[in-house]
Symmetry: C2
Subunit: 170 residues, 2 copies
């Protein structure tokens, strides 16, 4: 099984930046397992968190990503011990006969929240490491999963230091 | 201010699919405000949730997205009342003198969790609508935000019906 690499990319908000970064991975045939792009502490910049699974190093592609104009910084977040990985999942499950109480119990065990209730289904919001979300999904699968949506992983390093020291640049 | 459009795209996991979808938006000069790609209920498929802000309709670009080979379904999720929007944020804040207790109190009010503690900083995990995360960030800003990372919004429609009725196709 391929190793997972978590890459954090700090970019300027410009149309096309996402395409240019993703294209560098696609050109090498790397399959992006998850990608999350959202706002940062600076309104002009976004952070992309990319997870790719492959056996070789990702150093070369990171060097290429860094050379793109709207990219301020790109780094692999190395050790799983030194970083916090989180993902969010919305999952809609069939309640069936008597299923509702059991599903609520499973949700509680995973510290997940019921966010929508209808006659035949429940929607649950859960956060955690990707592995934890996989486990929740496996526990809910017997009831019938109607659909689910996951954000992809985001990560920050533990401790007081930021990934990107951009003070001088912004 | 431009209206926000939330688009849900159900795609086959193939290298390059993300680039092809994002390129359709970039070619029209649409700036993607957030994008989240993650696994779904089917191991061979991913769901992308894309938020773009613009004044015109997004129907035309959705029609183009649908024509891409690895795309199974693409739809705008229309009414904010009829859907659940969620996003996850990791945010690292300076604690300073006496700040730690106050920051913990703010985190509690937002039902957020402390996920890392160091001598001079706290890391908080929070989920909610994008607006709620903006409000949390604004409350923490006076203490000094070291860095933050957001997943981008994901959305599912309320009620028992899935966005994609793909039973026959998978």
């Amino acid at each position: 099984m391929a190793t997972e690499h978590t890459i954090s990319v700090f970019v300027e908000n410009l149309p096309g930046v996402l395409v240019r970064v993703a294209a560098l991975f696609a050109r090498r045939g790397y399959n992006i397992e998850s990608l999350a792009v959202g706002p940062t502490e600076h309104p002009k910049y976004s952070r992309m968190t990319i997870v790719v699974g492959l056996d070789t190093s990702v150093d070369q592609v990171i060097q290429q990503v860094k050379k793109l104009i709207p990219v301020v910084e790109a780094r692999e977040l190395l050790s799983e011990r030194e970083r916090v990985d989180r993902e969010l999942m919305l999952i809609k499950v069939k309640t069936g006969e008597g299923g509702r109480a059991e599903i609520r119990e499973i949700a509680e065990m995973f510290r997940a929240r019921i966010v929508d209730v209808s006659a035949t289904a429940l929607m649950i919001e859960a956060t955690g490491t990707p592995d934890k979300l996989d486990a929740l999904e496996a526990n809910l699968a017997p009831y019938g999963i109607i659909e689910l949506c996951r954000t992809g992983q985001v990560s920050l390093e533990r401790g007081p230091t930021p990934i990107t020291t951009h003070e001088g640049e912004l």
